[in-house]
Symmetry: C3
Amino acid sequence: MKHDCIITLTTDFGYRDPFVGIMKGVMLNINPSVTVVDITHAISPQNILEAALAIEMSFESFPHKTIHIVVVDPGVGSSRRHIIVTTSRYLFIGPDNGVFSLIYQSPLEDLSVVHITSEHYFLSQKSSTFHGRDIFAPVAAWLSRGIEVSKFGDVITDYVRIPLPVPTLKAQDMLEGEVVYIDRFGNATTNIKIHHMNNLYGSDHIDHPTVLFKGNKVPFKHYYSEAEATGLYSLINSFGYLELFVYRGNASLDFAIRIGDKVSVVVN
Amino acid sequence: MKHDCIITLTTDFGYRDPFVGIMKGVMLNINPSVTVVDITHAISPQNILEAALAIEMSFESFPHKTIHIVVVDPGVGSSRRHIIVTTSRYLFIGPDNGVFSLIYQSPLEDLSVVHITSEHYFLSQKSSTFHGRDIFAPVAAWLSRGIEVSKFGDVITDYVRIPLPVPTLKAQDMLEGEVVYIDRFGNATTNIKIHHMNNLYGSDHIDHPTVLFKGNKVPFKHYYSEAEATGLYSLINSFGYLELFVYRGNASLDFAIRIGDKVSVVVN
Amino acid sequence: MKHDCIITLTTDFGYRDPFVGIMKGVMLNINPSVTVVDITHAISPQNILEAALAIEMSFESFPHKTIHIVVVDPGVGSSRRHIIVTTSRYLFIGPDNGVFSLIYQSPLEDLSVVHITSEHYFLSQKSSTFHGRDIFAPVAAWLSRGIEVSKFGDVITDYVRIPLPVPTLKAQDMLEGEVVYIDRFGNATTNIKIHHMNNLYGSDHIDHPTVLFKGNKVPFKHYYSEAEATGLYSLINSFGYLELFVYRGNASLDFAIRIGDKVSVVVN
């Protein structure tokens, strides 16, 4: 069979409560031919930045026209707005709290943001505490059935962006970034992208950049197994970011690496 | 494509072992056009009441004709019966150990219970320890293919109900309930429903009920963000139950709230 | 609708990071009609033996032609090969590090192994750290669209097998095995299969084998609820292995059972 439309879910709902299953039920009720894919439900409770990073890492792997729902929503039930972010290739639905800040910076074309106000697309038993079930799931499902975005509300331009940690040029030959994500294997992703390093070095063929962490040089490799089995190493990871790792080990545990720790790249 | 039939899963199998994936394989083998949706697999091991609450919160969000499997089954392999609960809108499959006690109390019409005895619908390599794979999954899959419920066994009326904690009227103006569920965010759901409160107050417009927990008044709000960032509050949650919460915090951790703790509502 | 093809996933990616969702996006992009089923993503990081056991327990429950992906890959990015294992009924895709060692021993017919070398089936932004996204997912999706296995590379015979713990005959009347898997409920699966016990006893009707653990006899039962509520018991579990359990308890916690602990069967 052909999947008419895909909806993905990125939430902080966890895997213990029935909340995610309920959202899927609501969507299948409105559009029986939708396919729902979980990206993750283990965003740290109410951590907007973590959700912003997760959806940035993921959205482009999905087919065009995929609808990405993100629900990390400390302000649920308040006057905080609900939005649809439309682009030429993907749609995004979630609270207007900055969770799409990295999408706004991405090179997606024709980006515009709609404030969802058409309540007749919400579940009738709308509650004030579970907008995932009552607003985001049904709006996504109606969108997946082909309802035009303009039917859900008006375009806004004052949507919320959260301040994102960006690497800064500390000297002409030194870029300072920080750890922004630590994965299951203890690998520590920084906010330094390959293009930042290319700019610093004035070249897109950097073989041996000098990476510094807590005053020590961190040898640069091209893949995990190039490293020795102990010691901290760095590489450009599969999302294009500079990452600290321990081969067959856990960098975060072994070297006490935490979100926010500074990492520098210098021209040697 | 159109999903011909949806089967949901609510179990205490967890996410570490391959048990859930195996059940899905069995169902797809019998009915290649079924769609399986996980409600949760993180019910505390062998906790029948928790499973009863999870399926009550979830079942109505799914399309009519959905088949809900619940497998929380401390007595697996014993003489404990397997049952199908049929109603006008949904089917339920699981062990006859009280896991459907809240379904029996719901306003679903035409409820009847069938004792599953037709072993030719079971997997041939039936084991005595994994009825999810060998009995519940294949029975659900055959049901989803349109086999009539009556083919699986006879109607019974002596199905098992577990004692459920219900709120009690301690005085003409005081209702005492208890915490029955704590979710990932630390929100504590009680067994006091909105209609219990309406009855107590003699009104369906209760703006400021007096809620008591451990001798203290718990201010009543309409949504989370109406509350200050510290302190315990209460509201009617998205499932119609009175709930204790901390805004942007974790009520269960911050106020040491546990399953079974008493919560009262009084007419002030 | 009819599911044209099923792809399963068994990984050590966990449930916190977006890696699994990303692989699903890649597959749906290439084959919009594929159905992806999670077996587990909670294999202990880089534990090849645990993954080998999980896929052995699971693969046969799925329809013929199912494609099973296993990604537990400490050597990602090294010269370690990627392989497709073809058999008459199932296909398997993963790293050539021994993760399919139990499949090689199974009675599947027409088993052969292909070394994946046709890079035009990989994602173009191939990275050196996320072969799940860049190699295994797209190769599985192209296979599911009907591309012949021979198009992906040449047959090899020197594929890697890891040493598997096998029960040994310590005396003519004594077989010694060990604990190889502990599930969520604390049940401890050994590597002693029912056929090993039949061989030892010279019979396929063993009612009361003598099972020994740490010097004590472990009473043998046929299902969990036959046992008393305390004490350690044994039975043949739903995968055909001798297992140690506590009825309504947790054998691993209550009796400090660990992977590798010895378990014996003797003819009494």
